[in-house]
């Protein structure tokens, strides 16, 4: 580990730049040129900072946590409690935040091009979505974890409300109601862990965890249950998935890119926290595995039934977050690498599909597979992009989905659970069927009744094709050279498994 043990200049920038950009954009409100300049410059700055930043820590209270050797570099007892509110920026964080900021740039570009009025407030919400995702992926203490999850869920409601449709307002209302349950659950869980261990820092808490004390076991189980509840909520896993799918399906497709990125990063971050804290409890991994298998199965089956391409994608996102969960909850090095790599790939290929969906949306007649047809004649490149996205999502070799799914399959075979491998295979096959049901009907089916004078919709902004090309390039890059990403993720997985240290 060659990270610096001192307060790092770059980590606060990931929080400060989005907040400042959000405030500025909110003030600018509808001045188009100023908004586009501010938004693009801020997201470019985020990309640059994420590339240039070294690895290391930032402590809010000025005191570090324990070192991996068990000693403290500096310790100040504040009323007997070692606070150590801490952010960590490492390889996993670097690749995750880099991808998220690239996607933020694309989303901002498309939002500026497509929306007509009041773009300032909307784009500031997009920046805050990125900020909550960055908080949760970098965090190493319960307090910021909880605040990141809470802020994230409120902002999701705001982004969804921006479409102004009835279905999105309902989705936002339901999603916000549930933030009560998960936020309260996470608060109780972290209070219990704080009470048992006495540390707010996760690395400290793991070392101080009284796993062998039988009298405290039930407290730990209750804390585990509540943490799993908020994990399910933040990541959109099995019992709460209808609400999350509503959220994905009723937001603008380009906003869904950021929403699913935020959700995947939260899934990874909270999942790794649960694994590090409670991984040694009996039945903890089994509970997580059952959650992931249920999510994959229900999500993919529900995706088959949808007749709207947006909702097909929404349920597919849900079911693929089950794949990520599967890898993380296996708890082996290979499994964690597979899960993290799947999260990275998932974000990329689902973005390709969602941008294609956005392209369909521009042709004016919605995204229902019953009414839209024959798009391929009008927009051949959009059809190509959608088909490449479908191939990547269902794990066809030259694209990135294949690489992570093969790691997941190998990991579950090595774990001694061939059923899980079968489930992963079935999920990828069914993804293919569900996507091609939509793609055939929308792109390839001949246009059944092209009435004269029918509204043709807006032209697709050129920016969308540029973003699609860049995302497809990343898809193929990770498919051909998976080591590019795996080198980053390998260290994180090793740290999670062998020393309970920040991933």
């Amino acid at each position: 580990m060659n990270e610096s043990i001192s307060n790092l200049w770059s980590i606060p920038l990931f929080i400060i730049i989005p907040i400042l950009a959000a405030i500025l954009l909110n003030v600018l409100y509808s001045r188009k040129r100023a908004i586009s300049v501010t938004a693009v410059v801020s997201s470019l700055a985020l990309i640059v900072v994420s590339v240039l930043s070294p690895f290391g820590f930032h402590w809010f209270t000025g005191q570090p946590a324990v070192l991996p050797t068990g000693g403290y570099t500096y310790r100040a007892d504040l009323l007997g409690w070692n606070l150590a509110l801490e952010y960590y920026y490492g390889p996993l964080q670097q690749i995750a935040i880099f991808l998220a900021s690239v996607l933020l740039l694309f989303v901002v570009l498309i939002a500026i091009n497509s929306l007509k009025k009041n773009t300032g407030t909307y784009i500031s919400l997009l920046f805050l979505t990125f900020m909550s995702a960055a908080i949760v992926i970098m965090v190493n203490d319960f307090y910021h974890l909880w605040i990141g999850v809470e802020i994230g869920s409120l902002i999701v409601a705001g982004v969804v409300l921006a479409t102004g449709e009835a279905v999105s307002q309902k989705a936002a209302l339901k999603y916000t109601f549930f933030s009560a349950l998960s936020g309260a659950g996470l608060a109780i869980a972290l209070a219990l862990i704080l009470g048992v261990t006495g540390y707010a820092n996760i690395s400290d808490a793991i070392i101080a965890m009284p796993l062998n004390d039988a009298s405290l076991a039930s407290v730990l189980y209750v804390a585990f249950g509540f943490t799993v509840l908020s994990w399910i909520y933040a990541g959109g896993l099995a019992p709460i998935h209808p609400l999350k799918a509503d959220v994905y399906g009723s937001a603008f497709p380009h906003a869904t890119i950021l929403l699913q990125t935020q959700s995947k990063l939260m899934l990874v971050a909270i999942g790794l926290v649960i694994l590090r804290l409670f991984g040694t409890l009996p039945f903890a991994k089994e509970v997580m595995l059952s959650v992931s298998v249920l999510t994959m199965m229900i999500g993919v089956v529900m995706a088959m039934l949808q007749t709207d391409f947006r909702w097909t994608l929404a349920y597919l996102i849900v079911s693929h977050s089950g794949l990520v969960t599967l890898g993380i909850s296996l708890g082996t090095v290979q499994g964690i690498i597979g899960g993290l790599f799947q999260a990275v790939n998932d974000v990329v290929y689902m973005s390709v599909l969602l941008l294609a969906c956005e392209g369909i949306y521009y042709f004016g007649r919605g995204t229902s597979i019953k009414t839209v047809s024959g798009i391929a004649k009008r927009a051949p490149w959009l059809a190509v992009a959608a088909i490449i996205g479908a191939f990547a999502a269902s794990g066809v070799p030259p694209f990135n989905g294949f690489q992570s799914e093969i790691i997941l399959i190998q990991a579950s075979l090595n774990y001694g659970m061939p059923e899980l491998a079968i489930v992963v295979l079935m999920v990828s096959v069914t993804t293919f069927i569900a996507l091609f049901k939509g793609i055939y009907n929308i792109f390839l089916r001949p246009d059944d009744a092209p009435q004269a004078g029918e509204k043709q919709g807006m032209p697709v902004p050129r920016m969308l094709y540029v973003c699609l090309a860049a995302l497809i390039f990343i898809t193929i890059l990770f498919g051909v050279y998976p080591q590019l990403a795996i080198n980053f993720l390998n260290e994180a997985a090793l740290k999670v498994v062998y020393i309970p240290w920040v991933p």
Partner: protein, 124 residues
């Protein structure tokens, strides 16, 4: 025999609040009532968190000029509960504001507050 001390009583009150809040969110049909039930739920969680940190016969965990520094960490009420609750109160208020705003928009659209009519899960 459980002693009826303050901590036990507050835990009971918190449990009552959480149960009433959950029941209200689950069984009441009016959206404003659901929001009130939500505030009751978050109040119950706050009370539970404060009660977790309570120490029988302790002192308030604020360093006043008179208190001795040595006895303070052992006697003071645990600080993590209040620390979380202070944030939770603020988050509860903002969540309530978002909920009320969305409810107002939905009322303008549908003209009713009944959740069974407003939140019908229809899709395209």
């Amino acid at each position: 025999m459980i002693e009826l001390n303050l901590q036990f009583l507050s835990f009971m009150a918190a449990a009552v609040l959480v149960v009433i809040g959950l029941g209200g969110m689950l069984f009441l049909d009016n959206l404003i009532k659901k929001i009130i039930a939500f505030t009751l739920l978050s109040d119950g969680v706050n009370l539970a968190l404060v009660t977790l940190g309570y120490v029988e016969g302790g002192i308030v965990s604020i360093l006043e000029p008179g208190t001795s520094g040595a006895a303070f960490p052992t006697n003071a009420v645990l600080i993590f509960g209040p620390g979380i609750v202070l944030t939770n109160i603020v988050i509860g208020v903002s969540t309530t504001a978002v909920l009320v705003a969305v409810t107002m928009v939905l009322y303008q659209r549908y003209g009713t507050l009944k959740a069974s009519k407003v939140l019908k899960g229809e899709r395209k």
